[in-house]
Symmetry: C2
Subunit: 214 residues, 2 copies
DNA sequence: AAGATACGCAACGGTCGCGTTTCGGTGGTA
DNA sequence: TACCACCGAAACGCGACCGTTGCGTATCTT
């Protein structure tokens, strides 16, 4: 008797976004609960990592019964996949200053700040192992989280090419990965300090190279 | 009645290495068991990650009883800390070819291969979350695993400075982090392909910079 | 008002892994 | 030979979570 004519009694995730107007009889899903659950998931993902994230923990933090979660998502990974998709918030952006160097440095500064402080930024280390184990999660993470954050820097580099500031034959993706990778590597792997002018030094290295000019 | 005069009945980890010669009466610890346990730990660490690594799993894979493990290490994190210290195996090294570019490219090629294929190389993503949670583990990981692998590249860059190939004022650590970070970022985060001449392209970018020369 | 559905709460049986204990047997040293 | 610490196997109680169910209540649509 479901609108779509499917006879399975399972809710099958009727798409959380689709209960706005006249839907059917009965009490509608609480949008507030949706919000609280996703927020709790993101928080715990950042704080504890994927493997230590538990449905009971999410329920407790969201102030919601476990049943309320399972009514929406059949399992933990589906909940996480959906929650990652909700992270479109204010992204870091490379401004258009007219000079690559300034664009890059500004982007890096924002990025470091986000990685350290924002909840979304701290999700990274706790989710990496799962990516190789759960392709759907990996897809959601890369498409909904990684890509949008790279986009603005890719644009900045393209602008720089158009302006004739940087070589047109460079591998843009490679440069973006360098920029992001260094800071992530420091934060997650080596634990070395990131001082205030590291973005400047990196910009120098990337723009001018490390070769000794003759 | 323990030699050291400590009255605690707990074994207190009598240092695994210390059962070589005449030690005391009774059957000595099996060195083969030591080896098997550590090998199993490293394997499972690479395959499953820290959080999914279980003492029971290690025991099963090592062909050893759980008691045999607990007799040596009081808990999982101590076992892992010790096992990480046993990873000194053949490290990737930057050869001394006389040209930085060749040294760098060779180092990168080896590194990518190790990251993909070797057991030690695959440990990375599965241990990162724990580093922020367990300082002792972080210390063991960084000192016993990360540092030795950086060392050879740091040397290569110093040689290049001495030869006058690269600018003497560059931040060596930064360059190393760039080199390692990019590949790690691709493998763990973006999942983008790493083609055969990516090391070459990266070496170009780092040596010559991306600026358009006038 | 009637019916349908969501809600919180509490409890369930089940699985997993922890760290410990007991046991009979084994391989060394003195 | 006597002794002693080691070994593997098995079982233990414990706690954390899982995903599900039943219940009484709340809140919508018709």
């Amino acid at each position: 008797m479901t609108p779509a004519g499917v006879d399975t009694p399972v809710p099958e995730t009727p798409a959380v976004g689709g209960h706005g107007a006249g839907h059917g009889p009965g009490r509608p899903r609480s949008a507030e609960a949706d919000r609280a659950i996703v927020a709790a998931t993101v928080h715990l993902l950042a704080e504890e990592g994927y493997s230590r994230l538990s449905m009971e923990g999410v329920a407790a933090r969201a102030g919601v019964a476990k049943t309320t979660i399972y009514r929406r998502w059949p399992c933990k990974s589906d909940l996480v996949v959906h929650s990652l998709g909700c992270l479109t918030e204010k992204l870091e952006t490379a401004p258009d200053t007219g000079r690559v160097r300034d664009d890059l440095v500004a982007f890096m500064r924002q990025m470091v700040d986000k990685m350290r402080r924002s909840e979304a930024g701290r999700i990274m280390p706790g989710i990496l192992v799962e990516l190789s184990r759960n392709p759907e999660l990996a897809q959601a993470f890369r498409q909904g989280f990684v890509e949008p954050r790279r986009a603005s820097m890719v644009k900045a580099l393209r602008r720089a090419i158009d302006r004739g500031e940087i070589r047109p034959d460079i591998d843009v993706d490679l440069v973006v990965d360098v920029t992001v990778g260094v800071f992530q590597h420091r934060l997650m792997v080596t634990g070395m300090a990131i001082d205030d002018d590291m973005p400047d030094r990196l910009a120098d290295v990337m723009l001018e190279g490390i070769s000794l000019r003759r």
